[in-house]
Every structure is written in structure tokens, then in C-alpha cells.
């Protein structure tokens, strides 16, 4: 244990500690850049719209018609029409749009308000298919929750009655944070209702089917 040995080991230790600190600081500075990324624009998004538009043009039918499982439902072939429609709209550049076209919510028979605060409201994705909900209302529980609940109440009470409406609204109110998941069913003489919200999600779904 000479002085020389002590100095050498101290120098090595200082260098290694310095390296670790440097890496940590570098990582944090990167993170602070990330935190600034609210200002980030996505230059790629401009490119995406054009490339997808070109790539999707000229599409034919989805081709499920050749499936040997032709005795099962023809979901694929039903898509061909909507597929080519959607492909046409790709050129408009919104990659983040939904590609289905839902029927207007009024077709469900519920008295839908003309203006509302719902996150989204839509009719059936496929009116001829009884598996598809005739009405879907999406509620953002973190934004104007009370207003949306009042509007939902007005919309569903004339069809479902006061008791079930109250139960549904009360159940929705139990979504007090994103970590609360919801999934419950109700039935009336004419309707089947599901209220659900995924863990971590801020959207509550109200779905109604004809019985």
C-alpha cells in the first residue's frame, strides 16, 4: 500500500465515477429535450399522407371471395366496397382517420341531441348486422363529465326508462380514475346495453343493441 498505489486507484475511481455521472447527465439532457417535445412537429407526417395515398390506389377487392371457407360469413367480401371508398379518401392525407362509415346515430331511434359534449357518438357500423351496436356513445370522463352524463341521461331515458338510466349513470360515475375499469350489461324488453371502459383509458363506451 504505497502512496503511488493509493493515488492510482483514486484516479481510476474518479474517472469511472465521472463517466457514470456524465452518462446520467447526458441521458437526462436527452430527456429534457423530450420534455420539450410538445413543440415537436412531425415532418414525416407530410410525407406519409402522399406515400400512403399512392400505395393504396388502384386497390381491387380484398380477395376473400376465393376463400374455401365460403360457407361462413362473407365479412371480407362485404368490405370490398368500403375498402375502395376508404382507399379513395387516403389521398386526403389523414392517416389517423377511422375507415368505417357509421350510420347516423339518429337511426338508432334514441332522441340524440343536436349539439352535445360527447367524445363521439355514432350509429351502427353495419345496420344489417344484428351483432353491431345500433348506437355507440363515447364519453371522455376527464372532460365535461357531468355535462356528458346529463346529455346521456336525456338521450337514453325515453328508451330505457328511469330506473336503468339511473343505474347506468351511477355506474359510469364510478370511473373516478383511469385505473378503474368498467364492464357491465343491462337488458330491457327491447334493448341490450353494455357500459365499458378499459384500464388506463379515459373513454367510457355506452353501447346499445336491439334484442
Amino acid at each position: 500500500m504505497t502512496k503511488k498505489q493509493l493515488i492510482i486507484s483514486a484516479v481510476i475511481a474518479v474517472i469511472l465515477i465521472g463517466l457514470i455521472v456524465a452518462v446520467s447527465v447526458y441521458g437526462k439532457s436527452n430527456n429534457s429535450n423530450i420534455n420539450d417535445s410538445k413543440k415537436v412537429t412531425y415532418p414525416e407526417r407530410r410525407q406519409i399522407a402522399t406515400s400512403i395515398g399512392n400505395g393504396a390506389e388502384g386497390s381491387g377487392s380484398p380477395g376473400t371471395g376465393t376463400s374455401s371457407d365460403s360457407d361462413s360469413n362473407s365479412s371480407g367480401s362485404n368490405n370490398s366496397g368500403s375498402s375502395s371508398k376508404a382507399a379513395g379518401s387516403i389521398g386526403s392525407g389523414n392517416l389517423y382517420q377511422k375507415t368505417y362509415k357509421a350510420a347516423p346515430p339518429e337511426t338508432s331511434g334514441y332522441p340524440v341531441p343536436k349539439s352535445h359534449h360527447f367524445f363521439k357518438i355514432e350509429g351502427s357500423l353495419k345496420p344489417s348486422d344484428p351483432d353491431q351496436a345500433e348506437l355507440a356513445i363515447y364519453i371522455d370522463f376527464e372532460s365535461n363529465f357531468e355535462k356528458q352524463l346529463q346529455e346521456l341521461e336525456k338521450t337514453i331515458q325515453p328508451i330505457l326508462g328511469q330506473d336503468i338510466t339511473k343505474e347506468i349513470v351511477a355506474y359510469m360515475r364510478t370511473k373516478t380514475s383511469r385505473s378503474v375499469g368498467l364492464d357491465k350489461w343491462w337488458e330491457t324488453d327491447s334493448k341490450k346495453i353494455n357500459v365499458a371502459s378499459g384500464y388506463g383509458s379515459y373513454i367510457i363506451e355506452f353501447l346499445s343493441w336491439k334484442k
Partner: protein, 257 residues
């Protein structure tokens, strides 16, 4: 003293890469969350520290990506691999945020249809979260309830990214899974997205097809990879160094190289 300094040096060398890697996993999650918020207008963090069953994100799964035709598929799953074990692969890599099984694309297909048919020739089930057959299949497999994700399911982007992912896959005989008509299928209508794709992170989801066996309909699933946006649409002018959080080679925005 010499022994002391050697031990000290070795310790430092061991700690150093561990510290460096821990940072990059956290960065990956941060970048992915930022990207998802900006790209899909998703409020808050999509990837959270624990899922519905209090399982945490699995760093080992993330750091051992699956190679799919040269594209690294990093999965951000909660908990550990589980389910049947075949050919050295578990059926599930873990769980999704909501507690559904996160299926492993490397697990051998249950159905042999893809040995003789192209992927677009199977009878894919549209809007699977609405299908009683799919719900039953999921329940039979001991998974939870399948719900549509109002943010990520049915997005136009999924069509092209999934098609490009399917083009990378081959069947057990080495033939391409995607045939000549796969490019015109609206894949987004069939896929339930577990992990939304970002600029650098692959998306992962699952779709189901219907087969009639013994006169009864049976649902088979297929795990689908959606290539990252930078693979499908490489930027013509790399944003490297110009935009904070978007340093191309570091994987800013999506979090992966």
C-alpha cells in the same frame, strides 16, 4: 490495496453498462408515450408502469426483440411469458395494459391454412370485438374481455403498416404469407391493436379468422406486426438534430433505432 483497486474497477465496469441500459429502456417508454400522444392525440401516457393486474413492463422482453425480415419487433408487455410452450416459444409474451394475453408472433400457428393459402384468402372477422365467436374464443383461452379500443382500432394507417408487416412474414415452408392481393385488404377492420405503432416502435395486434370445423365455426387468431412509420415512410429529409426529441439515429419520437 492493489486487490482493492482491482475490485473497485471491476465493480465500476459492471455497474456502468447497467446504468446506461436502464436509462435507454426508460427513454424508449418516454419516447413511445410522447409519440403516441402527439400522433394519435392520446392524452397522457399509453404505457404505464403497471397494468390492470399490477404487473410491470418487462424489460427483458423489450431488450430481446423479435427479428421479422430485418425489422426489430420490440414488444412492451406487462408480466412474463406464459401459456403453451412449443418450439422454444411461449404462446404469450405477457399481458396487455388491460390484462389480455399479448400473443407471441413467433409461436407456431394453430391452423395449417397458411401452408396452402395466402393470408388474404382466409375468412377474416371484421370488427372482432363485436364478434360473439371471437369473444368466446378469447374466453376459452382464459383471457379477459375484448373491447374495441376507440383510439387505435380501425385507423387508416394500420392498413398499410400491417400490410408491410405481413409482407415480411413467411410460412413454415418459406413462402411469403402475403399474396398478390394482400395490398388491397382493409386490414385495419380486422386487427385489434395492443401496441400502437410509432415512428420507431413496431405496432402489434391480433386478428381472427373463421373456419368451419365439423359444421361449426371456429375462430383462429394471427398476431400481426405493424411496421414503424419510419420503415413504411422513411422521411426524405431526415430531421436529425433539427427537432428536439427527433434525433434520427437515437430513435427520438419512437424510441428505437
Amino acid at each position: 490495496m492493489r486487490r482493492c483497486s482491482i475490485v473497485l474497477t471491476v465493480l465500476m465496469l459492471l455497474i456502468f453498462p447497467a446504468v446506461a441500459f436502464a436509462e435507454s429502456f426508460q427513454e424508449a417508454i418516454t419516447y413511445a408515450n410522447r409519440d403516441i400522444s402527439a400522433r394519435y392525440q392520446y392524452r397522457g401516457d399509453f404505457f404505464v408502469s403497471r397494468n390492470v393486474n399490477r404487473l410491470s413492463l418487462n424489460q427483458n422482453i423489450w431488450k430481446n426483440p423479435i427479428n421479422l425480415g430485418g425489422v426489430s419487433v420490440h414488444a412492451l408487455v406487462y408480466g412474463n411469458p406464459w401459456g403453451d410452450y412449443r418450439n422454444g416459444q411461449y404462446r404469450y409474451l405477457g399481458y396487455t395494459r388491460g390484462g389480455l394475453g399479448f400473443t407471441n408472433i413467433n409461436f407456431p400457428c394453430d391452423s395449417k391454412d397458411l401452408l396452402s393459402k395466402y393470408i388474404e384468402d382466409l375468412d377474416w372477422i371484421e370488427y372482432p370485438w363485436k364478434s360473439a365467436l371471437v369473444r368466446q374464443a378469447i374466453s376459452n383461452m382464459g383471457e379477459g374481455e375484448l373491447h374495441r379500443d376507440p383510439m387505435f382500432d380501425c385507423l387508416l394507417a394500420t392498413r398499410d403498416l400491417a400490410y408491410k408487416g405481413l409482407q415480411l412474414e413467411k410460412n413454415e415452408n418459406g413462402r411469403a404469407l402475403a399474396g398478390p392481393r394482400a395490398g388491397s385488404v382493409p386490414w385495419e377492420k380486422y386487427i385489434h391493436v395492443y401496441q400502437p405503432p410509432t415512428q420507431y416502435l413496431c405496432g402489434i395486434g391480433r386478428m381472427w379468422n373463421k373456419k368451419i370445423i365439423g359444421g361449426k365455426p371456429v375462430a383462429y387468431y394471427k398476431t400481426v406486426v405493424m411496421v414503424p412509420y419510419n420503415v413504411a415512410y422513411p422521411p426524405s429529409t431526415p430531421p436529425k438534430g433539427e427537432v428536439p426529441g427527433f434525433k434520427g439515429e437515437l430513435g427520438g419520437g419512437g424510441g428505437f433505432r
